[in-house]
Amino acid sequence: MSYELDITDEAVEDLEALLESLPSARRADAVEGVDTALQKLAANPLLAARQHLGRPTYHFQFTAGGVGYHWGCTFRFSEDEKSIQITHFYRASAL
């Protein structure tokens, strides 16, 4: 069973800034790429590694408009361990 996915306001702003940094024709693809990657994380949080002062960190890749992107996010688990709470989105590196 997958975890529920929640996101903080700060991480929403991070994600919006990342999307806005892309050419407009690629943003729709990027939204789908991020959603697909997060669904994989929700199904299997072991895809994440401990980085950034020990926080669970998930790096993922997707293609938008034929161009590859590599982004990452940090998250924490809710106290009842039913949901993943995304705390930060960032650009990991260029492909």
């Binding site: 529920e4 996101i7 306001d9 939204v31």
Partner: protein, 192 residues
Amino acid sequence: MPELSRNALVLRYLLEVAPSVGHTKLAKFAYLADLEARKYLARPISRFRYVRDQHGPFDAKAFFAARDELVRKGYMTETPVECGPYVEYQLQPTSRVPEYDFTVPEAEVLSYVARTYLSKTARDLCEEIVYQTPPMQNLKLGDEVPMDQMNGESRDKLGFNLERMLAGEASAEAGRLRPMAEVVNELRARYH
């Protein structure tokens, strides 16, 4: 103005998270915290200037000055403990707590380092962690440790940002969260 120097505050904070350590571990915690701070904040937390000492990166003069300051002002005790043929010194924070002036990210880095490496022996900490850090490579005894090379690997404004991650964590802690599906749907409506 804080009653203690910056270096004394760093040692006292580390000691609060990781009490009962000796000189070696405390000095190495400070070094590792400065490395992490340079990586994430592009600046160190302490004012130590590390040189390649016989036992790794160390600023002996400044370290012992900070130690003396903490003991003299009643923020720390130092107790000799026999370890076989050697005498090690166990450092303990007293109940007197200084007024720290660290930023939230600095405090987080200090706590992380002390928590993460507390369980390691001084030898393992040096050999497995400290000696393997990039600035410690290819140095001769007495060389200044080139800490600058760790300064903010990426200053990409969309790259990882410790302050933003901590702000996100504070929001999550306070329950300021939205379902991701709702956000994705909004973004789809905006960009499709």
